[in-house]
Symmetry: C2
Amino acid sequence: MSSREILAHNLRVLRTAKGLSQEALADAAEIDRTYVSSLERKKYSASIDRLDKLAAQLGVETHVLLMKDLPPGAADDKP
Amino acid sequence: MSSREILAHNLRVLRTAKGLSQEALADAAEIDRTYVSSLERKKYSASIDRLDKLAAQLGVETHVLLMKDLPPGAADDKP
DNA sequence: GTGTGACTTAAAGTCCGTT
DNA sequence: TAACGGACTTTAAGTCACA
């Protein structure tokens, strides 16, 4: 299981759990909409600087984005 | 605390715990010698593909490389 | 709201060295 | 053994139009 696959999955799970569109997440994280789409389709091997930005907006620590099994509560919709 | 800083620290801690030189780790992970050095000096924002390679050689899961506090046993010298 | 292709450019990553 | 620089190649990153 590559980190690309895990990231793609967690990104989508956490994003939808928060009720965010790709566009909304991208705007909040100050990155391009199509780039979020690209990551969820495993097009790129994201750098850790980007992971930091995305994790902050999803309310999790960066390393959680690369965990095979998300910890309990990670996908809760809490501001 | 950025992921760059956490990675730089964990890389050095885990590497030395395994008794590996930067070069030995680089060779094993099939990445460049100077790049390992660069990551430990926070010069670059590593991509997750490289993290996978490094983690495999250090005997930890990729996400562990980005944890502020390493889990117990992570820095043990076990093959 | 999302997927995708084509394209550009900034940064990752390599390879050669010296200190 | 590790830090570091320079020149180089490859890929992540960013933008845009369109389905």
